[in-house]
């Protein structure tokens, strides 16, 4: 937790593939005006590996439950929850379970379902997702970045892992695999209509993971939600367009409910 006490709480939740480092370009500026809560999902970043339970994290409910636990533990109220990528749906689930806990939801690059379905275009086919899962399963996608320490099999020499992996976003490959499955096979379309918390959708103009029509679908399904399209390419506007992302989050967070 950073930022002045007594200010509105902004909780930043990272998505699949990285950890709270994802917010490093905007968190310090946000912390000037807000009480900022940063955390790593279990299985990512510097979370406690012993807290990892494959069954618990086989559904997004497990992650949503963690978000609510953090809120209770830190006694957070009137939380502005900012969820990137899959954490957008984690926030949706948390806000449905305890709507009073949250004042606003900001969904960055949300997708309630990644796989195309009848009358719905998620942007990926089942085969595409299988390809990612299979790639992660067979451990050769991202070999050097993620797999090196495991392949090296030298837990007693952590400096080897240090040299071979990237310094941010280190994830245990076994946990990443489960998180990938949970993320990309999820279908939360039916949950969107249950959201009662004021919601902003932040969409990138060109996002290879969450296409524009998915953002429009989310806006259409969540009653009264607003959609802002950022002039940003890619799935991570907080990195590729940090100023615009920061401005959008801050103005919605302080704006009228």
């Amino acid at each position: 937790m950073t930022g002045p006490e007594g200010r509105p709480v902004v909780m930043l939740a990272h998505g699949f593939g990285c950890d709270q480092n994802m917010w490093r370009l905007i968190a310090p500026a946000l912390a000037e005006d807000f009480r900022v809560v940063l955390f790593d999902h279990v299985g990512a970043g510097r979370s406690d590996p012993s807290a990892w339970l494959p069954e618990r994290y086989a559904t997004l409910d497990g992650y949503a439950d963690d978000v609510l636990r953090i809120c209770r533990e830190l006694d957070l109220r009137q939380v502005v929850f900012v969820g990137h990528s899959v954490s957008a749906m984690i926030g949706v689930l948390a806000a449905i379970r305890e709507p009073d806990r949250f004042s606003k939801l900001i969904l960055v690059g949300p997708s309630p379902r990644y796989i195309d379905d009848a009358g719905y275009r998620g942007g990926f086919s089942k085969a595409d997702i299988d390809e990612l899962l299979e790639s992660l399963d067979s451990n050769y996608l991202g070999w050097s970045a993620a797999m090196a320490p495991v392949i090296m099999g030298n837990p007693e020499r952590p400096e080897l892992a240090e040299e071979l992996t990237n310094s941010f976003c280190r994830t245990d490959p076994a946990m990443a695999r489960v998180f990938a499955r949970t993320t990309f096979l999820s279908d939360n379309r039916a949950d969107l209509a249950k959201v009662t918390v004021p919601t902003l959708i932040l969409q990138c103009s060109r996002d290879a993971i969450a296409p524009a029509e998915v953002g429009a679908f989310v806006q259409d399904q969540i009653p009264g939600s607003a959609l802002v399209t950022l002039a940003a390419t890619g799935h991570c506007p907080q990195l590729s367009a940090p100023d615009a992302t920061l401005a959008a989050i801050a103005s919605f967070a302080v704006g009228p409910p």
């Binding site: 593939g17 990285c18 997702i129 390809e131 990612l132 996608l141 970045a145 060109r206 991570c236 590729s240």
Partner: protein, 426 residues
């Protein structure tokens, strides 16, 4: 290019130019040619991924023309769907955060739909003000390497599986060499602890407690020299030899003599097999138990008295078992009264390395420890030793077996509840 091998170039360095520069001008005089035809793909994109420049090598690999890519396609367009997801969730964020990323394995999609496994390195070129201008990417064909990696992974998975099977075998075998639980000896409390130093090898320590007659029990504890399958086979033989010998003649000295003879006979031609062991026979006395004990080269047992003292019992006995023929062992008598506890252990305990200098734990420290916990019941002694052993951590590099007996201090305290404290690893 001409004149590379011609005589007109003269001897190297003759014209005063550094030899390296001269060679470069002769052999690699076009950086443009190097860029286009280098044995790796070069790709430059705008910060948003839009392709700005691509070399001929990569175009050839993928089967695209320059105009199909430059200004029209994004780097992520060249990736398989799985690769695109990986790119967006891992590659791009890391590149943005670190300014560079290396050695990432991805699959590129060629124009004809085929896949090309590659290794990708990217670096961000920034302006003087630090604004990202370009992303420069080199792409290396990793088809062979990927096949090799897959083979490595397969071999590793197989090795993991083998190791699991080995550990299961070791655990199972270890269990057969130790009593599953200690028998109920009326009026005596018993407890044991076994620490296995390795999950991959059967330990060489052993112990047992068993009924010989209605009011007579045999017990032993020892340590076979060596580890693994061969030591396990010897341990198994020692166990049944000791049990059988005790039925025939329960005098501890005679039992150890029989074991010594058996080890000499059976392993004479195979370089010999040695062990240390203490063997004892328990019989009830007026207020406790009489213990007759013989030792073959085994560390001295500890007697923890009801009055809070603890001393080693220098039992009579003989040398290591299995070393020389025709040894005569002697038995010693020990009385266990109310509140007394008796401790047999293997040298893995006293030989454990402790503290900064990595000194051995030693008999002196063990005696002091025993005096500190006396008077004590067998179960409490094993509990205290378990804590002590866990505290030694990786200094505990050998197997350890401990067998504790105690006589309840008051008649109301019935004792006789055997318990086995597992060392946790076996």
């Amino acid at each position: 290019m001409s004149g590379i091998e011609g005589s007109d170039t003269g001897p190297p360095g003759e014209d005063g130019r550094p030899q390296g520069a001269k060679l470069a001008s002769l052999l690699e005089d076009s950086t443009e040619d190097l860029y286009e035809n280098a044995p790796c793909g070069f790709l430059s994109t705008l910060p948003d991924g839009q392709i700005a420049r691509v070399n001929a090598t990569l175009l050839t690999w993928l089967g695209y023309t320059r105009s199909e890519l430059v200004g029209r396609r994004y780097f992520s367009d060249l990736l398989s769907a799985g690769g695109r997801l990986y790119h967006e969730t891992h590659f791009a964020p890391l590149l943005a955060m670190q300014g560079e990323i290396g050695g990432v394995a991805l699959e590129l999609k060629a124009a004809d739909g085929s896949r090309l496994p590659v290794l990708v390195n990217s670096a961000v070129k920034t302006s003087a003000a630090g604004e990202p201008l370009l992303i420069r990417t080199t792409i290396i064909d990793a088809t062979d390497r990927r096949a090799y990696e897959r083979e490595l992974l397969r071999a590793r998975r197989e090795a993991d599986l083998e190791r699991e099977r080995l550990q299961l075998l070791v655990t199972t075998l270890q269990r057969t060499l130790l009593p599953p639980e200690l028998p109920d000896v009326p009026g005596l409390e018993t407890a044991a602890y076994y620490h296995s130093a390795s999950r991959d090898e059967v330990g060489g320590d052993f112990y047992d407690l068993f009924a010989l007659a209605r009011d007579r029990w045999g017990l032993f504890l020892g340590d076979v020299c060596g580890k693994g399958a061969a030591a396990a086979a010897v341990t198994s033989q020692i166990r049944y030899t000791l049990r059988a010998a005790a039925v025939y003649d329960p005098d501890p000295a005679t039992v150890l003599g029989t074991l010594n003879g058996a080890l000499r006979r059976d392993y004479e031609r195979n370089g010999g097999r040695f062990c240390t062991a203490a063997f004892g026979v328990l019989t009830p006395s007026a207020d406790g138990f009489d213990l007759s004990l013989a030792s073959g080269g085994h560390p001295p047992p500890l007697l923890l008295r009801a009055d809070g003292t603890a001393d080693y019992q220098r039992v009579g006995g003989g040398p290591f078992l299995g070393v020389i023929d025709d040894v005569v062992f002697t038995s010693s008598a020990i009385q266990l009264g109310p509140g007394d506890a008796f401790l047999l252990y293997t040298d893995g305990l006293t030989e454990a390395r402790t503290g900064h200098g990595r000194d051995r734990y030693g008999e002196q420290a063990l005696r002091a420890f025993a005096a500190g916990i006396a008077p004590v019941t067998a179960a409490a002694a094993i509990d205290a030793l378990t804590v002590l052993l866990e505290g030694l951590g990786d200094g505990l590099d050998d197997d350890v077996a401990v067998l504790a007996l105690s006589v309840p201090s008051s008649p109301g305290d019935s004792g006789g509840h055997p318990r086995l404290v597992d060392g946790g690893r076996a």
